[in-house]
C-alpha cells in the first residue's frame, strides 16, 4: 500500500492538469465560456468549450499512458 505522496512526478502532473481542466468546466472556471457566441463548429461557445476540454483530458491521459508504458517497458528490459 502506497500513499499519494509516493506518486511519481508524471502522475502528479497528470492529476494537476486534470484538476485544472475540471475547474474550467465548473464554477468559476467555466464562467468566461458560459455564453452562446461565437459559434464554433456550428456549436454554441459553451458547448464547444466542453468538447475542447474533453479533448484536453484525452491528450493528458494519452501522454500519461504513453509515459507509463515506456516506463514499464524499460523496467521489463532492465
Amino acid at each position: 500500500m502506497q500513499r499519494f505522496g509516493g506518486a511519481p512526478l508524471r502522475h502528479r502532473l497528470f492529476l494537476a492538469a486534470v484538476l485544472l481542466v475540471l475547474v474550467a468546466t465548473v464554477w468559476p472556471g467555466y464562467l468566461p465560456a458560459a455564453r452562446i457566441e461565437p459559434f464554433i463548429f456550428s456549436l454554441p461557445f459553451g458547448l464547444a468549450w466542453l468538447v475542447f476540454c474533453i479533448a484536453c483530458v484525452f491528450a493528458a491521459l494519452w501522454a500519461t499512458y504513453s509515459a507509463d508504458m515506456r516506463q514499464s517497458r524499460g523496467r521489463d528490459a532492465g
Binding site: T25, I36, L61, T64, D68
Partner: protein
C-alpha cells in the same frame, strides 16, 4: 406487422445470437461466468464500461434534459469525462489483488482489507439497492419504446418481457462474455444511430446544426443555451447546483459495482489503462444526442414529460417508418446494454457478498454459478414487477442510491491508499455519509447552501472515516500485506 417493428426485431435476434455465441469460449467455472476468465481486452472493456454512457438515459433522458433544461444537460458531458479517471489508478490495483486473492467484486476487496464481513455486506446491500431501480428504469424504457414502435400492438408489459426475456437467456447462458460481446454490437449500433439522428433532425427542421442553435439564440429560449441552463422549474439554474452535481457524479462514477468489478475481468493492467484513456471519446457521442433534444424545443413545444421527447418526435415528425424503427432499435440497444451488465453484476454481488460470507461451508464452483443464475432471475423479476406492474415511484429511491454509491468512494481510496484506515472508521464514514446524504435529499431546505446533498454526505463521510480510524486500533499489518505493492498505480 408495423414496418417500424422490423428493425427492432432484427436487432433483438442479432443481440440474442451474439449473446449466446461466446458461451463456448469461457470455462464452466465461477471465473468464466463472472469475469470471462479474466481475459477481457481493451475493446471489450471500453464497450462494457460504456454502459454508463449508453443507457436508456442516453436516448430518453439526455434529449429530455436538453429539451427542458437546455445547457444544464452539458453536465452529462463533463461528469462522464472525469468520472473514469480514478479508475486509471484504482482499476489495475484492484485487478492484481483480485487475481491474487480470487476475488471478483469491490465488496470482497473492501471486506478483506478491513477484515469486516459487516462492511462487505453493507457495500453489497448498497450496491443492490442502487442497481435494482436502475434496472427498473432500463426495463421501463424498453417497454415504452416497443409500444411506440408497434403502434400499441405490443403493450408495454409484453415488449419489456420479450426484450428482457432474451437478455435473461443470454446472460444466464454466457455470463460475462455474453454481456461484453453484445456490448460491442450495441455500442456501435448506438453510436451510428445517435450521430445519424443528431445530424439529420436539425437538417430536416432547420437546415443544419448551426441554424438550429441560431434560431434558438434569436428566440425567447436564448437563456437555456447559456450554462448552467435551467432548473427543473424552468428558472435559471444556479452555479452551486450545477457544479456540485458534476462533482458528486464524478466521484460516484467508478464506484458503481457493475463498473468497478470489471477490473477483475480485465486481461492485464494495460487493457484497463488504455480503456480509461479512450473513455472520453464516448462522451463525444453525447453531443448529437443533446442536439436531438435541442431540435425539439422550437419544433415540438410543450411535450410532457420531457423524457418522452424523442419517441414523440419519432411519432410526429413525419419520418420514414424505417427511420423510426432504426431509432427505436437504437433505444433498445441503449437500454439492454446497461440492463444486462446490471443483472450480471447484481447476481454476482448478491451471491459473492450477500450469501457466501454467511454460508456455513464452502460452496463449489457449480453451486455458486447456479446460485448466481437463480439470483439474476430473481432480481430481474423484481425489477420487471416494478417496471410494469407497480405504480410506485422509484425516482426518490434512485436519487438516494446515486448519492449513496458515491459514498463508497472514500472507502475505496482508503482500501488502497491509507494504511491507518480501520473497519470502524470505514463503517462510520459509509453510514454517516449515507445518512447525511438522505437527510438533505429529503429535506433540501435544511442545506446551508444549495449544494448537491452528496457533497454534504461526502464531507461527513471523510470526517468520520479519518476521525474514527485514528481513534481505533490499526488494522493487523499481515492483512494489509496483500494490498502493499511497490509503485503507486
Amino acid at each position: 406487422m408495423p414496418v417500424e417493428l422490423i428493425p427492432c426485431l432484427v436487432y433483438l435476434v442479432l443481440a440474442l445470437a451474439l449473446g449466446l455465441a461466446p458461451a463456448a469460449l469461457s470455462t464452466r467455472s465461477v471465473a468464466g461466468y463472472v469475469a470471462g476468465d479474466r481475459t477481457l481486452n481493451t475493446l471489450l472493456l471500453y464497450f462494457v464500461l460504456g454502459a454508463a454512457v449508453f443507457s436508456s438515459f442516453a436516448f430518453l433522458g439526455g434529449p429530455g434534459w436538453a429539451y427542458s433544461r437546455g445547457a444544464a444537460a452539458f453536465y452529462i458531458l463533463t461528469y462522464g469525462t472525469f468520472g473514469m479517471i480514478p479508475f486509471y489508478f484504482l482499476g489495475p490495483r484492484a485487478r492484481r489483488i483480485g487475481a491474487r486473492l480470487g476475488y471478483y467484486t469491490q465488496a470482497e476487496l473492501v471486506g478483506h482489507r478491513f477484515d469486516s464481513r459487516a462492511l462487505q455486506v453493507s457495500v453489497a446491500l448498497l450496491s443492490i439497492a442502487a442497481l435494482v431501480p436502475y434496472l427498473t428504469l432500463q426495463i421501463k424504457g424498453v417497454g415504452y419504446i416497443l409500444a411506440v414502435a408497434s403502434h400499441g400492438l405490443l403493450p408495454e408489459w409484453a415488449g419489456a418481457l420479450l426484450a428482457y426475456g432474451m437478455v435473461t437467456v443470454y446472460v444466464l447462458y454466457s455470463g460475462m462474455l455474453g454481456v461484453s460481446w453484445t456490448a460491442v454490437f450495441m455500442g456501435f449500433a448506438m453510436m451510428i444511430i445517435g450521430w445519424l439522428f443528431g445530424l439529420y433532425l436539425p437538417w430536416k427542421f432547420y437546415g443544419g446544426v448551426e441554424n438550429l442553435f441560431q434560431a434558438l439564440a434569436a428566440g425567447p429560449h436564448a437563456a437555456m443555451l447559456v450554462p448552467p441552463g435551467l432548473d427543473g422549474t424552468g428558472r435559471p439554474w444556479d452555479w452551486w447546483g450545477y457544479s456540485s452535481a458534476i462533482l458528486v457524479s464524478v466521484i460516484g462514477f467508478c464506484c458503481w459495482p457493475h463498473f468497478f468489478m470489471r477490473s477483475m475481468a480485465a486481461k492485464d493492467d494495460r487493457a484497463i489503462k488504455l480503456m480509461v484513456v479512450l473513455y472520453p471519446t464516448l462522451q463525444v457521442f453525447m453531443v448529437p444526442v443533446l442536439i436531438i433534444g435541442f431540435t425539439a424545443v422550437l419544433a415540438f413545444p410543450g411535450v410532457h414529460p420531457a423524457d418522452t421527447v424523442l419517441p414523440f418526435m419519432l411519432q410526429h415528425a413525419g419520418l420514414s417508418p424505417w427511420l423510426v424503427g432504426l431509432a427505436s432499435a437504437g433505444t433498445l440497444a441503449a437500454s439492454m446494454h446497461t440492463g444486462d451488465a446490471i443483472m450480471h453484476a447484481a447476481g454476482t454481488v448478491g451471491v459473492r457478498d450477500g450469501l457466501l460470507p454467511w454460508w456455513p461451508r464452502p460452496l463449489d464452483d457449480h453451486r455458486q454459478r447456479l446460485l448466481i443464475r437463480v439470483l439474476i432471475v430473481g432480481i430481474t423479476a423484481v425489477a420487471y414487477y416494478f417496471a410494469v406492474v407497480s405504480r410506485q415511484s422509484l425516482v426518490s429511491l434512485l436519487l438516494g442510491s446515486y448519492g449513496g454509491v458515491a459514498q463508497i468512494f472514500p472507502t475505496l481510496i482508503a482500501t488502497f491508499y491509507w494504511k491507518r484506515a480501520t473497519a470502524a472508521g470505514a463503517t462510520a464514514g459509509l453510514f454517516g455519509g449515507i445518512l447525511v446524504n438522505c437527510l438533505f435529499l429529503f429535506f433540501p431546505a435544511w442545506r446551508p447552501v444549495p449544494l448537491h446533498e452528496g457533497i454534504y454526505g461526502l464531507t461527513a463521510n471523510v470526517l468520520l472515516l479519518v476521525t474514527v480510524s485514528l481513534l481505533t486500533r490499526p488494522t493487523d499489518a499481515t492483512r494489509l500485506e496483500a494490498f502493499s505493492e511497490p509503485g503507486w498505480d
